[in-house]
Symmetry: D5
């Protein structure tokens, strides 16, 4: 999470949406040690700062050899990114490849109060 | 239903959605004895516990040679899963292959009160 | 309409949706005598009884050589099925093939009061 | 507009939707004299009368050599059809082919008060 | 922005939507100097005036060799077009090609008060 | 087959291909009496005469209430059309809707010797 | 294989192709005991006899609880069907669902000498 | 055909292919007077000269109000373009919209001897 | 490559094709250290032995943290698999995700002499 | 063209194919000064050397503000790349966006003698 960088929102005061879709996320199943693959979508309304894209890509690399469950990784990404850029709202969606004839989609959401 | 297993929700307190899509469900028509094929979608908001995926796959295998109607199997899956993981809300959708030029989709929903 | 058969709703008390999509409906244009082709979708919330699928298929065969307009056939199917299974709500959609560079979709809805 | 014909609504009193999609509309750009091509969608809730399809096709032919802008033709079709069939509500959508790397969609709506 | 031209709304008083989709937008990344590619969508409800399409195409050419971030260019287009045609409401969406396995979509909205 | 009409080939001497695709063919299963639906493709190189389209449409209507198997109807169409227009070569393809989880495609070909 | 039935080829002497696509094949993995799912395509040129469709469907049901590998089942279907209908040529293709991120397609062919 | 213009082939001596696809062709049915719509594809290997695109677009405009059959217009375009640019080979394909449930594709080819 | 396992071809003497498509291959760029993602297709005609699927999956895991170019990895997979199962022929195709606006496909083939 | 870089073929002696697809090519029309957009595909069999991808991307940037026709740019890319990497064979395909309702595809090929 230390890798995450930000830059000042160029349109503070206007509530607009930024969506980044990472088509190539991979982590490891903590039970089997086998890799999992997902598409990860970040959809947020920035407040004072925005997430820098290149650093975001490096942040996701940290999961490449990490053993972690679908539900946990989705909530961890939301927690990390909210802490780093303090958005007005943010939704994380992870869409996982087929395992045993079954695919999965996890969606977690944060709204500033 | 005894096969179903669970694990503790890693983000209790946050209302987030988990969707599992089983692309390879099959049961048997109780009238003709011929197999039926469907895609089954489970979409739920967990409370204290989550459904474990591997056990879920084995749970669905129990229907492979069971004679049961579309409407009944959809409601039975909802009843079984709600009883087992006690979610905040859950929707089951079954999408059935063509029979006599006709395909069918059944959707049943539970919300904790 | 006499052909329509029903069976008891296996989950009375739960409001769930049943959708049947007939991909191969055909009737006849009353002006030209030429056949029309449509996909017909029945989407309903059952009350005490459900529509039986095989009888439903035979019901639709009655339109094969009947001369009837798009708007009339859509409303007639809705009237017939509502009368037969007395649902909580029902929507009929007919999606017609291209005629003169133009395709048509008719949608009629019933809600029990 | 004189070409437009109508017939009595076969289900007066029920608010149902009729959608006609003309895949082959063409008019002329008043500035360049070059042809424009669009898909035109009529989506309406009839009151006492419905639009007859064959006459509708001839009505659209009147635009084939008419010079008229995207925004004007969309509003003219809405005005003509509303005047002719007096619907409860009607939406006209025109979806135009690419010009200079840009495509356009215009949507105009009428609701009876 | 001086290039933008307008014409009188042919249906003042009716709230209808105009959508223009530019499939071939390109600007330059201010950090790397490499080109970025996007599809830009303008969706607005005109008030007294409409945006002229040919001038709009030339307006977008001004970004071809301009170094500017995704978030900034989206908000700048919204600011420029709102100032020029004073619409009742307008939404700008920019959908960017893949960089580092990640694609992005930015959406900014204006509503007249 | 008496309904089939022809017109003189406007480019005799050049071997070019004509393909007609009927998206709305229907006949009846001789065993069950239930309707079958297919897309029928005629692909031929004309010799002295071409098949007239409107008459072709009426020819296909003759199958609407005829009980005939997939394999037989494909070969009958080929025989009828070859006899009527005497082409240099012709291929008939019939692509049938799903029955019992199975769809079928039959292809028969004629080449003048 | 005893279930397979045939009928006389209605166009003996013409080499034409018949293709049947079973969208709902299932067998069992002999190692894990878990079900496998495939689409099975039969593509053949009949000689004196054709495969009857309804019996073919029942033939495929025999694999539902049989433990057998992808490569073996494909070759077994080819052997069984060739023995039963003695075609001029036949190709069997089995297209299997994803397992461990990997899907498989097996194709075996027979030509009469 | 007088409108067609050409320019010198920039790579004389290399046999390469040029394909232009006109998505918006329209002519008139000589029997009914109603418009027909097609996608027209020109695929050729140039010899000494190439077809100029803007003039080609104006050439196609001449068919807008011309009554002509599918087979005739395809062969006429081939004759006109071959005469004008004298290619090594050329194929014209016209793909026509649905009429009476039937769509058509005509393909004519020229090869220099 | 030691992980690769095989089993006896169940249909020795018949030349049939086996295709495995791994949708989730990943390796590392040797220049940047960043991960690459590809779909890898193995298409082969077995001789005496076949590749076992589960071991194949583990073989591909060895590339997860290996720095290797597109061209080299494609040829290495071909060399490894040919050495291990000695097929009659084999084709390896690697289809790589977008980098700098560019995607790549590499195809290498082996035929036994 | 000076920007193009190469590296030694890692599998000299095996004839295998390398395909690079640039989704974001842009140049300028020499007549109107307006930008053109294309997808460019390079498909080649390397001899002793391969094209380096990052340098290839910079090579394509040189066309961004260059006025050049479709046919000329396709042949120029082929000439430049053949000269630089001396392949066994190479095909360049350029697929251009819609202009005046027309899109274009140019394909040029080189084979070493």
């Amino acid at each position: 999470m230390d890798r995450l960088e930000t830059f000042p929102n160029p349109a503070v005061g206007r509530q607009y949406r930024i969506k980044h879709i990472l088509h190539e996320f991979t982590s490891v199943c903590p039970l089997t040690g086998l890799p999992d693959f997902a598409t990860v979508t970040i959809d947020y309304v920035p407040d004072a700062i925005c997430l820098e894209l290149k650093a975001l890509k490096y942040y996701f690399l940290e999961f490449r050899n990490m053993g972690i469950f679908y539900e946990a990784v989705t909530n961890k990404i939301l927690d990390d990114l909210v802490e780093r850029c303090n958005p007005i709202e943010m939704t994380i969606t992870t869409d996982w490849g087929v395992r045993g004839g079954m695919s999965s989609v996890i969606t977690a959401q944060y709204r500033k109060q």
